[in-house]
Amino acid sequence: MFFDVFIWVAYITIFVWLARKGQGHDALASGKVGFTIQAFAYVATYISAVALVGFGGLAYAYGLQMLLVAAGNVWIGTWLVYRFLAWPTRLCQRNLQARTPTQLLAKGHRSPLLGKMLAMLFAVFLGVYASAVIKGAALLLAQILPLPVWALIWLVAILVAFAVFVGGLRGVLYTEAMQGFVMLVGICMLVAAVFSAVGGPIQGMAQLATLSPTDKATEGFVSLSSGEQGWFIISLIVVTSFAVWAQPQMIQRHFALNSARQVNRITPLAMLVLTVLVGGAYYAASLSRLILPEMSSPDDVMPTLVKMLLPDIGLQIFVLAIVSASLSTATAIFHIAVSAIAEDLPGRKASRPMWLGGIIFCVLLSGGCAQIKGQLIALLCTTSWSIVGATVLVSYVALVRFGKRSRLAAWTSVSCGFLSCMAWYLVAHQGFAIAPLFWQQGTLIPPFFVGFFCSLAGWFAGWAMDHEGRKKSSFWPISTSENK
């Protein structure tokens, strides 16, 4: 008991201490941050509790094919990002003197109105999405703390707000790095315990190969499923690995880069941490089928596994790891939502009172939404990742990677991406369709796919029509001296 209390007190003390590292810095500027901090912060922002607990449950149901999602996250979601997007993003941001991802796109495509529209989108979608992340952390904490969930929701929201208010971007990066490290420790413990229980990774895989196929793992647990189930895994890879490129909280992580050389240091470390985290979690969760009874809810797999295999101290550290995964994602999302409200919407540099006002608004929005159950809130939470990705991805990559600047093309791309993705949710998503499904097979096409391809078509249409813009658009000047 004493040791449990000690762990939590130590965690909160380090959290507060690290958040204060940002004191005296601009809330939207990180200053110089080491590569280790940036690598851990990137992974911690990327991986939320959903990725560990929710997808861990899927790995139990689908088997080792979930490693494809892990591989996609590592290579597409991390390696490709740092290889092709991170440093050009930083150069664009510096050249345009953009302080937020919204400003990067608005200044890049020379459209302040686009910035305001994106700021509104980020404030609403990310503010509400943060409520789901905060509620996830509160529900988990309710398992070990004798407090009601509603109180824990406000407690977590205030803790996240504290990091954003006191630390700004710099404080958020440091706290995320610490949380990434805790996640790594928690997952390593679980992986070691599972390997020990099943006789090792190779022995476990051999046993897994002997299990009979199920409805979900239609070809067994060491093969990619056929038909709809296999397609589900492939769409999961694409949505989690490509949509991440354009999430504003991920784009903002590149703003802290010092040099192209630093990118070369961050990349391997981020890949290493992510491989151990998601690869380890999904491998262990797949093998858990050998030791767990049949589970009805995938979300119960990881908690049951932890309770079964780890001693009390291990349980505390694992809960800490999952809470860390939620908190790190929530602080990153909060920071973007607050900067959208305090700076991007008013269109001028945020003063301290404005920043505080933005935080109070976000706490009330997220905390309030987390308390109530509603179809609209569920829609915003579920759709946030895909809608933001489908809306921003094309115009962002066109700007930073290809140096294409066009107000018209950006507007057509963003509008087509947003509207088509949202419309697809309302027409063809089993949970949110407002009318009977007109085409049953349409439910198999993820809204992100529809949104992305419409956004791409919108970009090319706008680009073709924007004669004046095309003349002024030039390849973004990436200075060779800065690449050395």
């Binding site: 080792l64 094919q65 490693l67 494809l68 892990a70 591989a71 590592v74 290579w75 390696w79 190779i202 022995q203 895989m205 051999a206 190969a209 070809e219 060491v222 093969s223 990619l224 070369n264 240091r265 990349t267 391997p268 470390l269 890949m271 290493l272 491989t275 151990v276 690869g279």
Partner: protein, 41 residues
Amino acid sequence: MSILSILMLADTPVIIAIVSLLGALALTLVNLTRLSNRRSN
């Protein structure tokens, strides 16, 4: 039982996933070792 014989149990996509994750681990460890060696020199 060797890792190769175990991989034979899986089908191609899962083999690709496992090999690419192991490849990521190996690559990153090599890169990080090289960086730390360069720093110590």
